[in-house]
């Protein structure tokens, strides 16, 4: 049947054929359409990553006082928020003159890590992930990447956060 002079079957007849043979064509065609849409979805994902990395490169981190040197004894830790109120971090005094700070978000599935003084490591309670308290690198467990490190600066007695370093790539 021709529809209004077009050289094609009407859509309903193309998609719901009465012939069993044609049915195979329909299912393959629809499957191909689904696959191409999936491919488009993945392209959108890649473009989204591209846009995010362009904007992340331009991101400026604030300077923020997070503690004073007198707040912590050696081996003690303290939590704070940086760069936004939703980004929880942990500050550790690992030596007489040495302070380090890391994001509290585990790189496995984002549970909050805590500093264990006994083990001298940052521990994730969810799946027993361990991170080094010296540099945030993974010691054991499922986390695939080190913890993002907060760049610190000491000005007089004050400890100032001034950037976030993800896996060695400086973003301060």
């Amino acid at each position: 049947m021709k529809l209004l002079g077009q050289n094609r079957e009407p859509l309903w007849k193309e998609e719901f054929s009465v012939f069993a043979n044609d049915e195979r064509y329909v299912s393959r065609r629809q499957f191909a359409k689904f696959l191409v849409l999936t491919s488009f979805g993945m392209l959108v994902g890649n473009v989204w990553l591209l846009l995010k990395s362009v904007f992340l490169r331009k991101e400026q981190y604030p300077r923020q006082a997070i503690a004073t040197v007198a707040d912590l004894a050696v081996g003690q830790s303290k939590t704070f928020s940086y760069p936004t109120a939703d980004d929880r971090c942990v500050l550790i005094r690992t030596g007489e003159r040495r302070y380090v700070a890391f994001s509290q978000k585990c790189t496995h599935l984002s549970c909050a890590v805590y500093y264990s003084r006994d083990e001298n490591a940052l521990v994730c309670p969810c799946h027993k992930g361990y991170f080094s308290a010296q540099d945030g690198s993974v010691l054991q467990g499922p986390p695939p990447r080190p913890l993002p490190r907060i760049v610190l600066e000491q000005v007089g007695d004050a400890l100032i956060a001034r950037g976030v370093q993800v896996n060695g790539g400086s973003q301060s």
Partner: protein
């Protein structure tokens, strides 16, 4: 102009199956590409995003080309 001889049904089906297999292969590569780009992005290697997006766009265009090929074969077979 080429003469229009409709494709026999069985050959059309084989051509479509071949194209589908290629699309699936490309899709597997694209999934791998997306996960690799995401992994590098989360690890702070931002420069990987550009080649990742370009390669993904090329793969999508190839899939689209194969889909258009499938539609054409489909139409030719229907004239059979």
């Amino acid at each position: 102009m080429r003469s229009h001889s409709p494709l026999p049904r069985q050959r059309g089906l084989t051509a479509i199956s071949g194209a589908l297999a290629l699309i699936i292969l490309l899709l597997i590569v694209q999934i791998w590409l997306l996960t690799a780009s995401l992994e590098s992005f989360l690890a702070g290697h931002l420069s990987v995003a550009v080649p990742g997006a370009i390669a993904s766009a090329l793969i999508f265009l190839a899939c689209l080309g194969l889909y258009i090929f499938i539609l054409r074969v489909d139409r030719e077979v229907q004239q059979d």
